[in-house]
């Protein structure tokens, strides 16, 4: 595709519910990243995929958060038993091969609101 896309653009849920957020990276990009941006803050790293495998999941805050990328393209971020503190914009980015010098291209984000 032309850029990174994320769906839904907005998600409102109730405390305790389960949500899934989807990311479609740029075609051919092997590296995929998830970040979370709370109001008034810079984005914070959650997880990095190289192909189908999670190369670094050190940013996932707890075991309620899980992400998959089964075919090395689309990724889904899953949040169980949502809490009000999970409210944030969830950003996805992709890069061609990964690595610290490569440009990461960001999607528009999914704004999650937990009531």
């Amino acid at each position: 595709g032309a850029g990174v896309s994320q769906t839904p653009s907005n998600k409102v849920t109730e405390k305790g519910k389960y949500v899934e957020l989807r990311c479609d990276p740029i075609s051919g990009h092997t590296a995929l990243y998830w970040y979370r941006q709370s109001l008034g803050q810079g984005p914070e790293f959650l997880i990095y995929f190289q192909g189908t495998g999670a190369a670094d999941d050190s940013g996932l805050p707890n075991d309620r958060f899980f992400a998959v990328r089964p075919e090395g393209s689309v990724s889904t971020l899953k949040i169980q038993r949502t809490e009000r503190g999970d409210s944030a914009v969830y950003l996805c980015a992709s890069s061609l091969n990964g690595g610290g010098t490569e440009t990461q291209y960001f999607g528009p984000g999914t704004r999650l609101l937990v009531l």
Partner: protein
């Protein structure tokens, strides 16, 4: 651990005047540094990046930044601000693959 500190949370300038957004980094080795811009309701966009080549880096829309190892700084500048430059700017360092963002500087441009 690597980190960046953006020294100003808000900067206000008049259109046509210079812009300076300040960033200091902390790193145990030569880092890769980036500036990203985030316009309201739009995705993050890369302005420029430093990856140990030339210390003066030119980016899009007339922005540039200079890597100064002795000062551990990577300040973003533009000679003449435009109304369309109003946005949130993030200084970013990367140790390996993940990006570490600063807290952001909101740039306001007045006519």
């Amino acid at each position: 651990a690597q980190s960046v500190t953006q020294l100003d949370s808000h900067v206000s300038v008049s259109e046509g005047t210079p812009v300076l957004l300040r960033c200091n980094y902390s790193s145990s080795y030569s880092p890769s540094l980036f500036w990203y811009v985030q316009h309201p309701n739009k995705g993050l966009q890369l302005l420029l990046k430093y990856t140990s080549a030339a210390t003066l880096v030119k980016g899009i829309n007339g922005f540039e930044a200079e890597f100064k190892k002795s000062e551990t700084s990577f300040h973003l500048t533009k000679p003449s601000a435009h109304m369309s430059d109003a946005a949130e700017y993030f200084c970013v360092v990367t140790p390996t693959d993940k990006l570490i963002f600063g807290t952001g500087t909101r740039l306001q441009v007045f006519p």
